[in-house]
């Protein structure tokens, strides 16, 4: 136990020290992106691990990013208030879509397609309200000069790295909290057999809604954070079906059932995209998704537990 704690402390210290030791802005940028997306993928896996395959998380992320930015630009509401409001909006959306789904036993294919409709709606609303949101051309939160705590805008990448690192760590803590709670057993029972779980006294609808809302809140937060960091959001980068599928893909490749799986997925996908981009420049347009697509198919056929999941399972077998 003490050894575990020590290794956690060392890993944490190393991660915090990275931007101070290695002062390369590009690498720091990549680390930040990996951390933010890892958090988003972790949020997806909170549901995905229990067989609730949502293709609507692009919608939650879009709500998080756009509500925050719109409140800031049009009403001058600080992101400190805007982000919680955006999360509330995403949570309400999750309740609105989740409740009928869970109440009427919409699972599997159906659930995936209904949530797919959700990301479609959010994307269409963003595009249709182009007078406010800039439509498909994207949207920029108004920049303040220099770093401003109240506007949650920092020019310094190290600050962003530390914020993203903190958020990512909190995401893992939430994962651990769910992992150790009774809800986890309830959800696992539900994913095995809903009727049996209900007969055993599990409130199926309530448990599912709980995990869905947690997941939606986290995803919206990831979207808002991404918008604040990049200072540019567009329907293609934070919303819609492509983003939803991208989340599923990264989480599945890394491993949905283990805490660090989505993080591994984020590292692999972002490094692959960046390597291709740097190595081949504009010629590489499309190639990263081409490779993702093939990998996703291969992983689902041959390694459904994902890379990290399979490695951990093998280590456990050896013992």
């Amino acid at each position: 136990m003490n050894l575990d704690r020590l290794s956690f402390a060392v890993a944490g210290a190393v991660l915090i020290a990275v931007p101070f030791v290695h002062r390369d802005p590009y690498h720091t940028h990549i680390f930040i992106l990996i951390l933010i997306w890892s958090f988003a993928y972790t949020s997806w896996s909170m549901m995905g691990r229990f067989g609730l395959t949502s293709l609507g998380h692009g919608g939650f992320m879009g709500v998080g990013a756009y509500v925050t930015a719109l409140l800031w630009n049009h009403l001058g509401v600080s992101p400190w208030i805007g982000i919680p409001l955006a999360m509330v909006a995403a949570g309400a959306l999750a309740l609105l879509v989740g409740y009928p789904c869970f109440r009427f036993r919409i699972t599997g294919h159906y659930f995936a397609l209904v949530t797919l409709a959700l990301s479609g709606i959010v994307l269409q609303v963003i595009t249709a309200t182009r007078d406010w949101t800039g439509g498909s051309l994207g949207y920029t939160p108004e920049a303040t000069k220099g770093s401003h705590l109240a506007a949650l805008q920092f020019t310094d990448k190290t600050t962003w790295y530390l914020i993203a690192l903190g958020v990512w760590a909190v995401g893992l803590l939430i994962w651990r909290w769910v992992d150790r709670s009774m809800d986890r057993y309830a959800m696992e029972a539900i994913s095995e057999d809903e009727d049996a779980a209900a007969a055993a006294g599990v409130n199926v609808t309530f448990e599912k809604l709980k995990i869905t809302v947690i997941s939606a809140l986290m995803t919206a937060f990831a979207g808002a954070l991404y918008g604040q960091y990049q200072m540019f959001i567009s329907p293609d980068t934070v919303s819609g079906i492509a983003v939803s599928l991208q989340m599923v893909f990264a989480a599945v490749v890394g491993g949905v059932y283990v805490a660090l799986g989505p993080t591994v997925g984020a590292i692999i996908t972002i490094l692959l995209a960046e390597t291709l981009r740097i190595g081949f420049g504009t010629k590489a347009v499309g190639w990263d998704n081409l490779i993702y697509g093939v990998l996703l198919v291969l992983f689902i056929i041959f390694l459904p537990k994902g890379i990290l999941g399979s490695i951990l399972a093998r280590i456990r077998l050896r013992r």
Partner: protein, 293 residues
């Protein structure tokens, strides 16, 4: 005031009629997906990307190689049918015993793959087949021949599928499989062969949709993202695997989009349709025509 109302009514009628025309195309789109779902119990998330490849096939045959449209269409339909069979053999067949959601996700991977393949091969330019069909003027209303042709072709396509499913041995076997997967194997039906035929048929329907859509819309690698979601919504609204339900849902959806677009932008038509969909999930979660259990 009276004059205003008259004009308004003409527009309303025009919107309703073009909604019906749109409905025919949407019904065709939904039919292919419903067929796959009903028989193999798999959702092809990449269905619209198959259509996109069919549209590219039409574009290259007609605009680049100057094949006449009527000769190019069967080639494109066969090509997409082949693509459907290939998709089944390479991706779905190894996953048949896996949880259904894995099959759906694997076809999600195929979606990524096809989309990027189109980007790499064809570039991201919008391409147009360059056939401009005249506009039909009916009184004060205007309809494009492309839509009319699409509606008629969709109706014929659906008729052919209906006859095939009702009258031929293979069609009856396919419907029987959709009813009971386990029993049919005991009856000596080769499910693998039937699955393959169904996949090819689903692909052929995607190919037919492609031939019609290419007359109305430009082709680009991401065109699937605008066709796909609406098709899935229609299928779910009608009840996945329920052919008649999908047919009805297609027309309901088309009318909502068309009428919504009349009062505001086309996007709001879509938003309305999506909102209607969510609402219907509360009221009739198993599909429009399903009996409540």
């Amino acid at each position: 005031m009276a004059g205003f109302l008259e004009i308004f009514d003409v527009y309303l009628l025009e919107a309703i009629l073009s909604g019906i025309l749109l409905g025919g195309v949407l019904a065709l789109l939904a039919l292919g997906l419903n067929l796959i779902f009903g028989v193999i119990d798999v959702t092809w998330i990449c269905y619209a990307e198959l259509i996109m490849f069919g549209m590219y096939a039409m574009y290259y045959l007609v605009s680049v190689y100057h094949v006449p449209y009527w000769a190019a269409a069967p080639v494109a339909i066969l090509a997409v049918a082949g693509l459907g069979a290939l998709l089944h053999l390479l991706v779905i067949a190894p996953l048949l015993s896996a949880p259904p959601i894995n099959q759906l996700l694997a076809t999600g991977g195929v979606l990524f793959f096809l989309q990027s393949l189109a980007t790499v091969w064809f570039g991201i330019d919008f391409r147009n087949i360059g056939i401009r069909l005249p506009v039909l003027a009916l009184g004060e209303m205007h309809f494009s021949y492309a839509r009319l042709l699409a509606f008629v072709a969709a109706a014929i396509g659906m008729g052919v599928v209906y006859v095939f499913m009702k009258k031929t041995y293979v069609g009856i076997a396919i419907r029987a499989i959709a009813q009971d997967r386990q029993i049919m194997v005991l009856m000596g039906v080769d499910t693998r062969r039937l699955y393959l035929i169904t996949s090819a048929l689903g692909g052929a329907l995607a190919g037919l949709s492609a031939c019609l859509l290419v007359l109305m819309y430009d082709v680009h690698p991401f065109v699937g993202l605008s066709i796909g979601p609406i098709t899935f919504l229609i299928c779910v609204l009608g009840g996945l695997g329920n052919f008649v339900g999908g047919f009805v849902a297609a027309f309901v959806f088309a009318e909502i989009i068309s009428l919504g677009g009349l009062f505001s932008d086309l996007e709001w038509g879509y938003v309305l349709a999506f909102g209607f969909f969510i609402l219907m999930m509360f009221i009739r979660p198993a599909g429009l025509l399903a009996r409540r259990s």
